[in-house]
């Protein structure tokens, strides 16, 4: 693996770290398996590409708009669950399916190239270091800032309420927490992170694509599972670091397995490799770990 490839993998790993943080919020904090991300990741990409290319807005503003669009998508999923009691998984599937059509509408076609357009990475040109070194650094700073913002949020009064709403809803209600509202906000937030990841990914990749979201849910989950099973998670700060490291490790595992010639794998095998990695992690995990237990059938 060359330095160029290495830095590229780190950059993509960090971008998917945002998906991983989102999955941590939904699966671990809110106990709400959210599949909306399959639609909100390409939504973020579609929105950012369209706003930059068609409207000519500042790429940072466009990225923010993409995150807000993701928040709205997550909010709709949570609303279907909270207001109409639709099963959380089904609500997520419904919204992500709907988003597939919406994304095609937004882009006016199956993809939207960003080549030559101004992106958040354009400002890095003309520095003494090449952009393939600077853009991972930019993403790193951004992702780290978001990680600390999430850590802070989960220690505020409202954040603590959200943790209780996920861990023990009856107790949370008895302590005056509006559990439904916490879900709306938390699932919205998680999808805002996912859409942000989509927006950044599209700008690195140079295009938005309606099919970008396939398997994103597994990427997020795999990162969380790998992270929390390998690293300490005693505090929220440690757990979010674990999620980010999990995303990086996962990305490297995929890159290495696709690069290993003796395995004979091609780029199109990425989903298969992902699925196998998740299964291997779950198999190797001891049963005392939270998420592994959640996703495995209980032994009789």
């Amino acid at each position: 693996m060359s330095l160029y490839e290495l830095l590229g993998t780190v950059e993509v790993g960090l971008v998917f770290g945002l998906v991983s943080l989102g999955a941590y919020l939904t699966f671990k904090i809110l106990d709400f398996p959210d599949l909306t991300v399959e639609g909100s990741f390409p939504l973020g990409a579609a929105v950012v590409a369209t706003v930059i290319v068609a409207l000519g807005w500042n790429p940072w503003v466009a990225t923010l708009v993409a995150a807000l669009a993701g928040f709205a998508a997550g909010w709709v999923t949570a609303y279907l669950n909270v207001r109409f009691n639709i099963l959380h998984i089904l609500a997520g599937i419904l919204v992500s399916i709907a988003l597939y059509s919406i994304n095609l509408r937004i882009m006016g076609g199956p993809n939207k190239p960003l080549l030559g357009a101004e992106t958040v990475f354009s400002g890095l040109d003309g520095w003494s270091l090449p952009s393939y070194v600077l853009s991972p650094i930019l993403v790193f700073v951004l992702v780290l800032a978001i990680k600390f913002a999430i850590d802070f949020f989960l220690h505020t009064g409202i954040g603590l309420g959200m943790r209780a709403a996920g861990a023990n809803p009856a107790m949370a209600e008895a302590n005056g927490i509006n559990v439904g509202r916490m879900k709306l906000f938390g699932i919205g937030l998680a999808n805002a992170l996912t859409a942000l990841a989509g927006a950044l990914f599209a700008q690195t990749f140079g295009a938005a694509d309606a099919y970008m979201g396939i398997g994103i849910i597994i990427v997020g989950l795999a990162s969380v599972i790998v992270g929390i099973s390998l690293f300490p998670t005693r505090t929220i700060g440690q757990a979010t670091v674990a999620c980010l490291l999990g995303a990086l490790l996962y990305r490297f595992a995929v890159a290495l397995s696709l690069n290993a010639d003796f395995l004979g794998l091609q780029a199109s095998d990425v989903q298969l490799v992902t699925a196998i990695l998740v299964v291997l992690t779950l198999m190797s995990q001891s049963s005392r770990l939270g998420l592994g237990r959640l996703l495995k059938r209980k032994p009789k």
Partner: protein, 264 residues
């Protein structure tokens, strides 16, 4: 303080499983009274408590607490006025959070939650002071996760949490039933002490006739969705479990068949 009027509750209405849980129940609990509620399984005592807490919406009647009609209020909104201790020690606390974080949650029941750190020095000091009352050395374990505590410790913590802040009404749903006898007595004595100190209006549902008569200052008995007797003052002070059973037999013309009630 609590004013329940003509409460009617039917579960699974319109299905073959239809069951009337409460029929036209009216009960008024004045400010500062400690009411104990007994009754056999399915008598409606827990349904009544859940109706006050907001978990069950009555199909008829109204519930008022501290002068506000709360009949249409959801559980979390009522939490400002009413706090609860559950039967299951795991229910009253959040095991993934520390003792301190649990108290911060309970504190926010009567104080608005915001985007500031939930735990500050004042919460830490207040919590340490409160848990010192227990004599369980928990004041030195404030940053331990609640999941590390025993059932009895957790129930004691739940009780303290339920009585922090400015709550005026305390609902206890068989909160000692899942504990061993010695721990149950410890939690019960703690309950008596806190309720007396804070002059809380309390409703305690229990399976034990002895407990119902020994604690509090008024006892009502539920049977088949209604209140069959209501006793307080000197008459209650003189009442024994055996007399209570006689009373039941005479009024209902049937034997009380729930072992738990007799043995408790």
């Amino acid at each position: 303080m609590i004013e329940a009027r003509n409460i009617g509750v039917t579960f699974n209405k319109g299905t073959p499983l239809q069951a009337v849980a409460l029929r036209d129940v009216s009960l008024s609990v004045p400010d500062g009274q400690f009411l104990t509620v007994i009754g056999s399984n399915g008598a409606g005592k827990s349904t009544f408590l859940n109706t006050i807490a907001g978990l069950v919406r009555p199909e008829s009647g109204t519930v008022a607490v501290a002068g506000s009609d709360v009949t249409a209020w959801p559980v979390h909104r009522r939490a400002r006025l009413i706090s609860r201790v559950f039967q299951d020690p795991k229910m009253g606390t959040c095991e993934d959070l520390t003792i301190l974080e649990n108290f911060a949650l309970a504190h926010s029941r009567t104080h608005p939650r915001g985007f500031a750190f939930a735990i500050d020095r004042s919460i830490r000091e207040k919590t340490a002071e409160r848990v010192r009352l227990l004599g369980l050395n928990l004041e030195n374990r404030l940053d331990d996760k609640v999941g590390l505590l025993s059932g009895g410790q957790r129930q004691a913590v739940s009780l303290l949490m339920a009585t922090t802040g400015e709550t005026r009404v305390l609902l206890l749903d068989e909160h000692t039933a899942a504990l061993d006898p010695k721990t149950a007595e410890f939690v019960m004595e703690l309950t008596r002490r806190i309720v007396a100190e804070l002059k809380l209006t309390s409703v305690m549902v229990t399976h034990s006739m002895a407990q119902a008569l020994h604690y509090g200052d008024r006892t009502v008995m539920f049977h088949r969705g209604g209140i069959i007797f209501d006793v307080s003052g000197e008459r209650r002070a003189a009442l024994t479990v055996a007399e209570l059973l006689d009373l039941f037999r005479r009024d209902q013309g049937e034997e009380l068949s729930d072992d738990a009630l007799l043995l408790g």
